[in-house]
Symmetry: C2
Subunit: 290 residues, 2 copies
């Protein structure tokens, strides 16, 4: 009896300890499973985006720099209004211009006027942004060696993406576009535009400044940039080089608060350029009126 | 001695149990803290986006519908090329047109030609999208009652956003724009465009179809839409109604795979419309050449 009691107590206590341990293990596993499901669901979310930046608390106290911006004057808005007929004509012509835009993966090495590049970037810079933070940096790469280094980095990572990271379904979905990890246009295009989003900025006193909705803002700017390129008669293909961001950022000497969002190779189409014979959804499949 | 042994064993075991329990508690707290930091860092990320959709595994087997798309034909690309002088002129004029765009929060109740709305939505629909998934739905609201219901939902949620969710810094950052939770334009604008991103689609057999980079794709389409509206002489303000998505989705009868990304009230500016006297960053602050 005296011998059994401590053994019994020990067994009960070990049982309790085991239950706690197990509960912890189960919840850890559940969480891991959740993360895995999340990663598989959005495989295109760059690993770079999961870095420490997202975890840091960036809200700062009000400072002088922001105080001064608060007091910005409000002025009457001056508007250019067209007669209804002209509005319809302009909107129709704009649609016809943009409807000719295609993602072109065969770009000639012919040089393009750099004044046009200045103008399309200035156009992109007119995009709205959360709290007018303008959280974008456009890096224009013309240098042949730098372009080739960019190609090497992207092809290295893209080969891993296609073979390992993307999964069978994604690779299948891209087959119709005949894309793979060989990106000749990175060498041939006279200009590469690398678009970085600034995940935060800096106030005059060096403190972090929050960039609200920075990815959406920069994507809107890219939409305007694509329209501007099409309007100027240049072609490009919208690419989001998966997991190449950190290496390209370092190559181009961009600061740590900037993350690569898109890369656009820009130029004239090559003589033998082809495009997949895709059609766009008709209006009644993308628009609903209430 | 015989009395002490079971007590000692019990104490040791309780200690072990307590250690396990505590370890679990600590890790839970750490995780909670991390989530809190994340929420505070990106307070503009809609709670709606954290719903179950993100956790579900959507990768599906290859099916016939996708097989057929793989075999799409590739055709020669036909291109409109302008002389260099014209390229420069066109790009300059496009910049000047877009540089006049401002976010206008005072919109007249005057009706606008709906043919123009059709054309600007068709223009937005020419945007590129990940694997050509075209993951967008544009809901055009003209009905006065529905517009007013939208206003009620947004003002209710926005009041909570301003008073509780956004934090002092964000509200301060917005002061210069003189925005608050009263959104008169939701009643006065003749048209509200609610832009939904389809977080996934459906294949012909009803299976889920992955929409790669759907938020970036839809944001690009919004950039083109803003350019198209400006080109037609209409004004708008880019808004992302925080946490209103689910209620607006239900109000408009949109399916669960669609999530509200943006809302654009569209019309002519009202006579007394004012805008903050903001300036845009000059080219050398947004562009770097390598």
């Amino acid at each position: 009896m005296f011998f059994l009691t401590p053994v019994l107590v020990a067994v009960v206590c070990i049982l309790i300890a085991w239950i706690f341990k197990n509960a912890d293990g189960r919840s850890m596993e559940g969480r891991k499973g959740e993360n895995r499901a999340r990663a598989q669901t959005r495989p295109w979310v760059d690993e770079d985006l999961k870095d420490s930046t997202d975890l840091q608390q960036v809200e700062e106290d009000v400072d002088d720099w922001q105080e001064s911006e608060e007091n910005v004057e409000h002025i009457p808005f001056s508007h250019t209004r067209y007669p209804e007929k002209e509005m319809i004509k302009r909107s129709q012509e704009f649609y016809e211009l943009l409807n000719k835009r295609r993602s072109v993966r065969f770009i000639s090495n012919e040089q393009i006027p750099m004044e046009v590049i200045d103008n399309v970037i200035k156009s992109a810079g007119t995009a709205p942004s959360g709290a007018h933070t303008e959280p974008w940096t456009f890096v224009i790469v013309k240098d042949l060696d730098v372009k080739h280094k960019i190609r090497e980095i992207i092809e290295e990572e893209e080969e891993i993406n296609y073979l390992k990271r993307m999964g069978r379904q994604w690779v299948t979905d891209l087959k119709k576009l005949r894309t793979n990890w060989i990106k000749e246009y990175l060498d041939t295009a006279p200009v590469l535009i690398l678009i970085f989003k600034q995940v935060h900025g800096f106030a005059a006193n060096g403190k972090r400044k929050v960039h609200y909705y920075n990815e959406i803002s920069v994507s809107i700017a890219c939409g305007i940039l694509l329209a501007a390129l099409q309007n100027a008669g240049l072609v490009t293909v919208t690419t989001t080089p998966l997991n190449c961001g950190p290496r390209l950022r370092v190559l181009l000497g961009r600061p740590a608060n900037e993350k690569l969002l898109m890369l656009l190779p820009v130029g004239y189409p090559s003589q033998e350029a082809t495009v997949p014979d895709l059609i766009r959804k008709p209006l009644d499949q993308i628009m609903v009126t209430v």
